[in-house]
Amino acid sequence: MDTIMLVKAKATFFRVLKVASYLLSFPLLLYVIYGDAKTLSGYGVTAASGMSAFKLIALCFLGVAALQVVIGFVLRKKDFFVRALTAAVAASAVVVIPVLGIEIGIKKDFDLLRTQYAEDGGYDFERYEKQLTDYIGLAASHDKALNGFMGKYNLSGTNGTTKGGNLDRTPTAAASDPKGIFLKGYADYGHYIFGEAVGGTYSMNGLYADGFIFGYNQAQYILNTYHNIRNTYAAMGLDADAALESALTALELDGSAWKEYQKTEEYLRANGDAPAVGEGEQKILIGDREYDVYRMFAGHYYLTPDEVKEMLNTLTGYIAGAPVTGDIVAIIEGLNGLIGLNLSDEILDILRNYRDLDYDAFMEILDNLAIDIGGQTLNEALILQYISDYSFYQSPTSYPKIFFIKNGALRDYAYAKYLGTKHGAFVGSVLIGDGVGAVTLDNTKGNAPMSEKELDKLFARIEAEQAYMSEYYPWLAVRSGLIKFGGLVPAGMILAYFFAAAEKKNFYRLIAKGGKA
């Protein structure tokens, strides 16, 4: 006869085993799947979907737990073995059915997609069997490639970000929800929005809002358009840039749509003469709000040649007035004729009269010096060109010149080039040129661009992988967990019932003894 102590100990022993067995079934499995699902959620490509399949499986298992309660009640008169078997069968179904579903359904879809991409998309991705074991590594590699591209070109998210609207405070809208702000086109030129399909935040004239930073989708669209049209022209033995140049030259002819458009009120409001005093009060209704006409004048947002001249005059004035300037002039004069320095009498004259130094005199010196910067001569035209390049402002309230290019493909090319260079330079995401990404004072050269071939390969890969990774990988995580630990589920469950029965038996013995030895 066992003592009470021993019976108690036995009951406890079986209780511990019961709990341990149960933990070996669903809890362990869910824990394993959760780990992989969590890892997937950490990668961009599977961030949104990473936990989805796990949640579904966890829900099924909760269903089984609920079923166990029902079984326990309905079959309470039956032997524990019947209950154990019923629960184990239900658990097995939850384990086996998803694996079979994944094995048959996903593999079929996947193989189809793979063939399709190999044929159309020109991208060959790893076989299903290879992906089964390496899906986490492949998701990580996808992320790395994507982030490398995003970082190089300094992009912001998938669909871009809008940091504030326009410099002139005019409204912006999405192409899908125009809020009545877009211009109405001109003559037989309908309103045009570049890259409408990929979205973004647009100004009234159909260009991106000043503060719009490209996301992956916009960058891909712009770069693809740019390279594809270049290639089309090249295939015909033509140069897209030359074609664009001549199209723009043609627009400068009298009577062209662009010339006529420049006479419209719409154009003149933003690009005409500076608003006179009092015009500042004027308001205009755009969409459903009133805007200040004064602020819409583009001239507020760039340096005009006159302003540059005035600034340089101020600067040269101060330099002319500084006592040290005389010393420097004296040194230069003294050196003339030595160390290869041969200044013309003209320059020497200007230098000697340094006290009259002003913008014009300064430019004259430059012309005479003929200083060469990277193949270009430093002169007034080049300086003004640099300044207008850096301080250019396209008014969001009037159409740009490139809007009036008749040839559709060439117009797309012009927009892609404009956005990839000028707009990109402003927001720190240059897409086209020798230096890309954030070209700033700290990084004047920008980053080295990717070649067209590299870009094509990357875009094809990203598109193909995004098509299946986000949808299938969460299931591959479930599958991997089920295959490794699925077998333990029915076994652990049956053991749990067995140990529960054993615990109960000892518990009854305890009661029967009435607490006496």
Binding site: N154, K163, G164, G165, N166, L167, R169, D210, G211, I213, H300, Y301, L303, E307, E310, M311, N313, T314, L315, G317, Y318, I319, G321, A322, P323, V324, T325, D327, I328, I331, I332, L335, I339, G340, L341, N342, L369, A370, I371, D372, I373, G374, Y390, S391, F392, A425, F426, V427, G428, S429, A438, V439, T440, L441, D442, T444
Partner: protein, 381 residues
């Protein structure tokens, strides 16, 4: 009977007093560093006292109830109430504060500082924010906006001094209205988001802005006489951004054609000890300060060595007695920040020793039951 009373006292001492002692001990650096921010620096202490009053009032009430009713049931119920209260007053109150304070903090710091920056690093934050005030006072004694005669008084009284307090507020308002808010918000957010491109910088420097209108008092630098010592200032973007901007130009690829030899020979000579470049730069600086250019001085420093020209541009904010906008808005909200900082030692004490309080409350409850309850269970009926 007497032994129980002694035990009860010991239990009480191990509860709240331990928390309070730890909290006060941990608060000492913040108290000393920011002593001039009265009463803000004591915000945490006030909260501690408030919690203590609540706790001991509840303790007194339940204690007298147990003493009066003398039933085990009352004693147990009161113990349950006190234990719950101790949890609510420690962890509970701080859970609530952890929810309420972060938005206030982001607001006070223009979303620059978060709650997590303070949680464990409060001593360092107390030091930084005390130095912010000390530095401000020094800058403004140096440029005469605060009278040098009263220098010691200003340093001693700090934020408690009316002149200092007003000067912080006026300086911040000037920088905010005629600086930060006078720029297009989009340009500023690009600049802050590490997208300070050359076009953005040029827009920030040269785009038309509203004329300055907020008085910037007591400044007589840059040739301002007594008549215009309170005149508004048109702050430049360098005043708003953090300190000096430096960039380098690599001249090794630069070829000046026929004059290459001359220029490369001349540059080191000009940068030599005769200080010609420095003299010339003074003229450039004066030009920059002219209304036709920026209207706000930028100090240019050029360093030439090994074919590299390093140009650094320093705004006049420091000589005028202000920090960049970020630090200036910190300083302007310093009293609030100091109050927030003072909460953290208390918060940590409550989180760490909260369990002590619960335990000691339970022990006190059990001792009370033993001491007063002579009837077992049931109602008194």
């Amino acid at each position: 009977m007497k032994k129980t009373s002694v035990l009860k006292i010991i239990a009480y001492l191990l509860g709240f007093p331990v928390i309070a002692a730890y909290a006060v001990y941990k608060s000492v650096p913040a108290f000393t560093l920011n002593s001039t921010y009265k009463p803000f620096v004591f915000a945490g202490l006030f909260l501690l006292i408030l919690v203590a009053i609540l706790y001991f009032t509840a303790s007194l009430v339940t204690g007298s109830l147990v003493q009066k009713k003398k039933t085990a049931q009352t004693a147990r119920r009161c113990t349950a109430v006190m234990v719950t209260l101790s949890v609510v007053l420690t962890a509970g109150v701080w859970f609530a504060i952890d929810k309420v304070v972060p938005p206030i903090l982001s607001n006070a710091t223009q979303n620059i500082l978060g709650y997590d920056d303070f949680k464990e690093d409060y001593d360092e934050k107390a030091r930084v924010h005390s130095e912010l005030l000390a530095g401000f006072i020094d800058m403004n004694i140096a440029n005469g906006r605060l009278s040098p005669e009263n220098a010691d008084l200003y340093r001693l009284q700090g934020y408690g001094n009316k002149d200092v307090k007003n000067l912080i507020e006026q300086s911040y308002n000037s920088l905010n209205n005629d600086g930060y808010n006078s720029f297009n918000g989009m340009l500023l957010s690009l600049a802050d988001g590490s997208r300070l491109t050359i076009p953005v910088l040029i827009h920030l420097l040269f785009d038309e802005r509203d004329d300055p209108s907020t008085a910037f008092p007591g400044y007589t630098g840059e040739g301002r006489g007594d008549a215009d010592k309170d005149a508004p200032i048109k702050w430049s973007i360098l005043d708003i951004q953090e300190g000096t901007m430096t960039f380098s130009l690599d001249l090794s690829a630069f070829n000046a054609g026929n004059y290459d030899g001359l220029i490369k020979w001349l540059l080191p000579a000009l940068f030599g000890e005769d200080g010609m470049v420095e003299e010339l730069l003074k003229a450039v600086e004066a030009a920059v300060a002219d209304e036709d250019l920026l209207g706000s001085p930028i100090y240019v420093d050029i360093d030439y060595s090994a074919d590299t020209v390093t140009v650094s541009l320093t705004p006049s904010s420091a000589s005028r007695g202000v920090y960049d906008f970020k630090n200036m808005s910190f300083l302007n909200s310093n009293h609030l920040l100091v109050a927030v900082i003072s909460l953290f030692p208390i918060r940590n004490a409550f989180y760490i020793f909260g369990a002590f309080l619960t335990l000691s409350t339970l022990v006190v409850g059990m001792l009370r039951q033993k001491q007063y309850a002579n009837k077992k269970g049931g109602a008194k009926s």
